[in-house]
Amino acid sequence: MDDRFDDLLREAAREYNEPPDIPRDAMWERIVAARQEAERAEKTETTEREHTRVIPFRSFRAFRSVRPLGWAAGVAAVLALGIGLGRLSVPATPPSEPAHPMAVKPAPRVNTAYELATTEYLSQSETFLTLFRASLRQNAGNERLAAATARQLLATNRLLLDSPAADNSKTKLLLQDLELVLAQIAQLSPQSPSRDLDLITEGLERAAVMTRLRTAVPSGPSTTQGAL
């Protein structure tokens, strides 16, 4: 009976949102245009960066006091950030007309809050990836905890990608590259072959994720470091 229903379901489901003719050429033209635009923006950004002060990398010594046992506190900090972001994405009150035409609009505090949340998130990610690489070197066997933490960070990453924080193309690209690395770590288990770990390390290095994270995070202590 169930099998018969499943067959019927599969047959009927083939018509679900049946795709129309595919506008291949129109989409291709927009893809080419968007990529050229991104390339131009990147060139401009590089030129501007060459003329501005470079934010110094945070000292690696900052992580010396971190111990594997501190990972649990790290997970809690990540969870707290995720919950905070979830609250930010829910409007406190429904949008309405101002009471008076001369009423002064409040300052855009939400965007500042997203920027702060992004910086905090990138700082946590940097700390996590540093610990992760250190545990790989020591063969610490923390795959389960690493996967669980990566999943939490991944959830926050996706919230940020959906938020105004991703309006900045550079931040967006970093979040996307980070998403890829975290997704790989999230799939780790104690049975994972060492090749998987090598691939993650390679991926981190090739996309210069750590360097970009450190550049994006201003130097100075973060709340995560305190937690850890």
Binding site: L9, A12, Y16, P19, M27, Q187
Partner: protein, 177 residues
Amino acid sequence: MEERELIGRVLAGDPSAERALYDAHVDRVFRLAYRMAGDIDRAQDYTQETFIRAFSRLGDFRGEAALSTWLGSIAISVTLNGLRKVRRQNEREISLDDAAPAVRGAREAEPDLKERLNQAIDNLPAGYRAVFVMHDVEGYTHEEIASSLGVHPGTSKAQLFRARARLRAALADFVRD
């Protein structure tokens, strides 16, 4: 042309290879995006974003899985993120007064199986719907789905089982008939 050779040419900056790679995979990506979005504009947006991201990250593609699976994982991630954004936007915009006619059960005539099924699929949680559409509608294997969604194949199978159970419950009267 071999896939590996094609990727090499794209990475070397050959525009004709980029177009060839796009032509080889665009149908599959678009079909998935459209099945999930049910809207031509959004499906185009998600397809375009998938390829833009894919071209910018092609250097990271290691070739452990097929290129189509790798593209599928980007496509489903882009689509689910996009749909979440749309859902949140809609939730903010729909006032109580506007919401009333949108209630599914308020239709005058009893819809037929196809329409009821479409509604039931639309109402599945995003994760179940993604697995159901990928497996039962678009014919992806559980391994491909697992790789695309970053889960184990067993999770994909369990999600499909639960999705079908929900659909079965939603269409219970048809099942009895």
